[in-house]
Amino acid sequence: MKRSKVGLTFLYVILGAWALTSIYPLFWVLENSFKAKDKILKQSFALPVGDLFTLVNYKRAFERLDIAHAYMNSIFISACVTFGVMVLAGLASFALVRFDFRLKKLCHTLVIAAMMFPVFSTIIPVYTMESGWHITNTSSWILNMVSVILPQVAGNMSFAIIVLMGYVQSLPLELEEAAHLEGCSIPQIFFRIVVPLGKPSFVTVAIFSFLWSYNDLFTQMFFLRRPEMQAITRLLNELTSKEGTNYGLMASAVTLVIIPVIVVYIFLQKYIIKGMTAGAVKG
């Protein structure tokens, strides 16, 4: 097909311009995280070279904040949430699509309606409940982690079930029937056929559960109170309420929180995008 050079250039200019809006703000924060706080507001577009360059923001961020610990907590929480959601939602969506039972319609409605609940409307009763069980605000690290993991698993459940139901529906039933004839039990069918074939959809669920859990400030704010138990997003928020005008420190903290996510994303982006579209387009 023929096309004019001018037209093509025009396309690239538009696409490039939008790409710039995605990249430049991140770059701007990155470059300013290397400047002293009083320079940021005066010379924010200058590259941090020569006299402008300083590591003082990072030094201070590491001194002030227990970043390593917070990363560990965050990753532990998000990994557990991801695992929990995948297993429970996988089982539930399989049952909801394949099995016939009286309350099926009701269950389906319950799943969809649960998507609508704002976290803020459920958090207070949940907090009261967990306080009653003595799993939040205790000195036990693992119990505190569990107190965040449980509500987050519940919060991600609906989305996961809906995506996975879309996938199970698209599976040809014959495959499972054949397996059944060969003597596979139902759990075997699930673990040997449904799960392996549904990798892209499970990856979607995993990625989004992980991201949402990692980025979920609200639940973390409620349940993680002790300094040694803070997760990374919570730490970032705390920092800004304490150091409102120290823009240098803020820039470095934002960078520190974003960088690992970006790195992981760049490495995994093939799977992320593939998995996501598989799930969303079908579901």
């Binding site: 049952a95 609508m116 704002p118 409307s121």
Partner: protein, 295 residues
């Protein structure tokens, strides 16, 4: 339905854990929340010692409270911004990317960037960008020769400043979905159209758009329900609906009433409103954007 899936035992085993979670952590708290909306609650974590007088007091307030109207208005604006801004821009970009050969992978990767970053971090970032004295934008305008500062968060621009980052963040999400949909359209269709003498624009209008209909519908449904849940970014950038309570969304207003204004039972009432709104809107979008089975 196949006869292998009859066992009641497995239904229970497979469903019970997930539903137990949802019932304990979502449904039970939500019904407690409805109960709470009729109680006179002084502090978080209690359900008060008495009923409101009259018991439906909060619901009367809901109807008369001008801020509720503002927040509903803003929420609807947000939905429109989502449809026009997010899905619209994403569609445009997807069609453009479909027409180039080199660099598609790059644009996919880059456009998706903002989604993986937490809204809290983005909120801080945009605070720095929109800072009055003197963030990225005002510094930039200064370089261009403007001598007065623009108050991006002031009365006249607040709504715009609030919605822009939200729209920006999710364009990439819909872009990727739509682009995958475009990739699934067979190249032969385009080629035969080209032979028949159709221009590029005609090919987009008569082939791409109709064939993308289902995917666009999915995007719109996701967009509408997503717009109702927006919270972190506006709250980080405009706490307490600043200025003049003009930037409240239903979600941020509920949070404000519960946590900041200490009006816990009224906050619970607003939560009920949000859920009702969500259910109604998802039904409406379900009807309006009904996926067609023709293709």
């Amino acid at each position: 339905m196949s006869n292998i899936y009859k066992s009641r035992k497995y239904v229970l085993i497979f469903l019970a854990p997930a539903f137990l979670f949802m019932i304990i952590y979502l449904y039970y708290p939500f019904f407690v929340n409805i109960y709470g909306s009729f109680r006179a609650i002084k502090n978080l974590g209690t359900y008060g010692t008495k009923w409101n007088d009259p018991w439906y007091e909060n619901y009367v307030k809901l109807v008369t409270d001008p801020v509720v109207r503002t927040s509903l208005k803003n929420t609807f604006l947000m939905i429109i911004a989502t449809i026009v801004g997010q899905v619209g821009i994403a569609l445009l970009l997807a069609i453009l990317v479909d027409n180039i050969e080199r660099g598609t992978q790059f644009f996919r990767t880059v456009y998706f960037f903002p989604i993986v970053i937490s809204a809290t971090a983005l909120g801080l970032l945009f605070n720095l960008i929109f800072l009055y004295d003197r963030g990225m934008l005002n510094q930039f305008l200064e370089l261009l020769g403007r001598d007065s500062l623009i108050d991006w968060k002031g009365e006249s621009l607040a709504i715009f400043t609030m919605m822009l980052p939200v729209v920006w963040q999710y364009v990439g999400f819909y872009f990727v979905i739509l682009q995958t949909g475009l990739n699934n359209i067979s190249q032969e269709l385009y080629e035969s159209a080209a032979i028949d003498g159709a221009t590029r624009l005609q090919r987009v209008i008569y082939i791409s758009l109709p064939l993308l209909r289902n995917v666009i519908c999915t995007c719109l449904t996701l967009g509408v329900t997503g717009a109702l849940k927006v919270f972190d970014l506006p709250w980080t950038m405009f706490p307490k609906g600043m200025p003049l309570k003009e930037t409240f969304l239903t979600g941020t207003y509920m949070y404000y009433q519960t946590m900041e204004a200490k009006n816990v039972d009224y906050g619970a009432t607003l939560a009920v409103l949000i859920v009702v709104l969500g259910v109604v809107l998802s039904r409406v979008t379900g009807m309006v954007f009904k996926e067609s089975e023709d293709f």
